[in-house]
Subunit: 157 residues, 2 copies
């Protein structure tokens, strides 16, 4: 796997996301790494991240798929442009649409693994397919349409 | 609006959901009420529930749409069966699939309003369309396919 996560290359002012911002002390701080042509993320839910006792909360699953997929989009975009992330910040993508199919209940306990593949990469839009595994079994599939963040987005509403 | 939220009628052992369980002390504890033929929920994000500073985290939006929609499914199912929820527990639905379209960035600050309509109601499956508003503007639209919880689901994995 690559040594540093894509989220470690986001510019500071775009690193406060509850799901993936390294500077959000309350959030999940997920980390996404290249592994060949897939982006991979591991996350262990807290005991209270449940839907029904014993099973992981679907909203958390949606959140993990969302943030890992936008991270995957950023990483793929950077790779396609041959960006040197040690020199310049990573691009930042936001979610235009999120689709999650819950294929089976996700057991609470094991570390979850998310694996993303790039289905389509255009100038400002990346479509990402993400699969979530628990104990090696597929529990959910996601599709995220991610768009490059507009430059004026960081100014606030 | 109806006096008690649908979540207040869930049986205790199914009330630990991170999004909508009244017994999950760490969770959002959302509440969903009838207002005519729509189910309505209000929720005020915390300051750290952000994607980019100034805007609400998309994973939270997905979570709210998810739980409010399954609550709406339960309420609609109960209404269709003329269940008296003061006498018997509400049915409990889980999410088979979740689709969220993020139409514009959701500003952090205002209380969010979610309004759900029942698009389809079958014996064990309900399709719910949910719209999320901030300051009266539509920020996201969701579609949830909710299924009646299998009776053996509460035994744990």
């Amino acid at each position: 796997m690559s040594e540093r996560a894509i989220q470690d290359y986001y510019p500071d002012q775009l690193s406060f996301c509850y799901g993936c911002g390294r500077l959000n002390k309350h959030g999940y701080q997920i980390k996404s790494y290249w592994q060949g042509n897939e982006m991979v993320c591991h996350f262990t839910p807290e005991p209270y991240h449940i839907a029904i006792p014993g099973y992981v909360y679907g909203g958390l699953i949606a959140s993990l798929i969302d943030c890992h997929s936008t991270g995957s989009a950023a990483a793929a975009f950077a790779r396609s442009k041959n960006l040197d992330l040690e020199v310049e910040s990573a691009p930042r993508f936001v979610t235009a649409s999120l689709q999650v199919d819950y294929l089976r209940p996700t057991p609470l306990g094991p570390t979850l693994e998310l694996r993303s593949q790039i289905a389509e990469l255009k100038e400002r839009k990346v479509i990402v397919h993400t699969t979530l595994f628990a104990d090696g079994e597929i529990c959910a599939r996601g599709k995220v349409v991610a768009v490059l963040i507009p430059e004026n987005f960081v100014q606030g509403p």
